[in-house]
């Protein structure tokens, strides 16, 4: 059944019809064109579909769209600065060559945005645990940790 939901996506209030059997990954990709949200395992294991829901990194593949009613969603499309500048987390990923194929990147960037937003600083080991909900098949994680350490490391 189609249900109308209201949510804030990347700062804009949206009202849209969603199927009540739909997951948030599909809503964001297919109805709103936000294709930075990737579909990997669709089982909560790889983190490619991660978005921020009310500021918390969440796997959108195991999240029903109707639960998003009244919530605030952020995807990578929504984190650029005012002058179209890259977000400091994105810049750190570029500087540290933390991106190869890029499939895991949007999810990891959002987790890092949440980490930076906490205002706390972390050791490399703590950061390793904080990004443990993301799988990367290319980089071996070291450059990703370098990037995250650059913005949130002690």
């Amino acid at each position: 059944m189609i249900k109308v939901i209201h949510m804030k996506v990347n700062g804009k209030q949206v009202e849209l019809g969603v199927d009540d059997r739909e997951c948030l990954t599909d809503t964001l990709r297919n109805r709103l064109g936000l294709t930075s949200v990737k579909k990997g395992c669709e089982a909560g294991e790889c983190g490619a579909c991660t978005v921020l829901i009310d500021g918390k990194a969440t796997n959108s593949c195991i999240y029903l769209s109707m639960w998003a009613e009244g919530r605030e969603i952020v995807t990578v499309e929504g984190i650029k600065g005012e002058n179209e500048n890259l977000h400091p987390v994105q810049q750190a990923f570029v500087d540290e060559a933390a991106i190869q194929c890029g499939f895991c990147t949007p999810g990891l960037i959002l987790t890092a945005v949440e980490i930076v937003g906490s205002g706390k600083k972390y050791t490399r080991d703590e950061l390793r645990k904080l990004i443990s909900g993301h799988l990367c098949r290319c980089t071996g994680y070291e450059n990703i940790l370098n990037a995250v350490e650059k913005v949130a490391g002690l």
Partner: protein
């Protein structure tokens, strides 16, 4: 698209209980990290869901003081449990377990109620809730009962919860006496996103001079067909000194009460070795958290 036939989203507890009474084929969904995976795997089909996701009355942790029960409402996610300082102080093992479930993204949605009701032998919260003597409040539209968690698990994936009829509405943790401490260890083949190969929780209360076990409780996940408490060893440890020898005694004697199996994750032999080793380490951790120390 999930294979959902119908989904109800009640806005309060009494509406939920009424919906459950009139739809006994309905499946409760909270964080969805078990239910949606089963739907994805097509182990559930054409199902009727009753969503209690973020229902206010089932959220949060209430704690008055050290003399009263702590109540954890079932819709509380593990991230919230792990960020609660009273849980950290009084129910340290549960606080540790909350940080072991899945990954950060899983912990922001996965609830403790879903973890318990799912009935998995590997559920990370189970051993800790067992040693904390948790009581589960199970509610139907016109009745309510309280079940000690020790009587809750009946077989792999099976519990005394009347599925579709009863809702877990509160997890009560009795006040913890002075001089107590607890500890949880999860063993998995990887450091993250790993279902437990073996989990062990220990709770101790020490005497005033902190050299004797006054109370000792130990529970395991994946050491038998259900999460279990080992009550025979518990009785035998009461009154023993805080020595390495007592720990060895625990590690060896507890094996009489467990019944681990071979599975693709680990052999029976490895699990026995883990039980022997982790029970000693968890006991030592609990003693440390109670302000004591093991002497060699």
């Amino acid at each position: 698209m999930y294979d959902i036939k119908e989904i109800y989203q009640p806005s309060n507890l009494s509406e939920t209980l009424n919906l459950m009474a009139s739809n006994q084929d309905g499946i409760v969904i909270s964080g969805g990290t078990d239910v949606l995976i089963r739907l994805r795997e097509r182990k559930l089909k054409e199902c009727k869901l009753i969503s209690i996701h973020k229902l206010k009355e089932l959220q949060g942790i209430s704690y008055k003081d050290s003399l009263n029960d702590m109540i954890i409402y079932p819709g509380t996610c593990f991230e919230e449990i792990h960020s609660n300082t009273m849980v950290e102080k009084n129910c340290h093992c549960l606080w540790q377990a909350a940080n072991e479930v899945g990954s950060p993204q899983i912990r922001t949605v996965a609830t403790i109620g879903g973890n318990v009701c799912n009935g998995a032998v590997s559920a990370d919260s189970a051993p800790s809730l067992l040693v904390l003597n948790a009581e589960l409040e199970l509610t139907m539209a016109h009745s309510k009962r309280s079940v000690p968690i020790r009587e809750f698990f009946t077989g792999p994936g099976k519990t005394v919860l009347e599925k579709g009829k009863e809702l877990l509405t509160a997890i009560k943790i009795p006040a913890v006496p002075e001089g107590s401490g607890s500890y949880y260890i999860k063993f998995g083949a990887r450091n993250a996103l790993e279902i437990s190969t073996l989990g062990c929780a220990v709770f101790v209360t020490l005497n005033e001079s902190k050299d004797v076990f006054e109370d000792f409780r130990i529970a395991f996940g994946v050491a038998a067909p259900t999460p279990i408490r080992c009550t025979q060893i518990e009785e035998r440890v009461k009154g023993l000194p805080l020595t390495r020898e007592t720990l060895k005694f625990i590690g060896n004697e507890v094996l009489k009460e467990v019944n681990p199996r071979d599975s693709w994750r680990a052999s029976k032999q490895l699990r026995i070795q883990l039980i022997r080793e982790l029970s000693q380490r968890a006991a030592e951790g609990a003693v440390r958290n109670a302000g004591g120390a093991i002497i060699d």
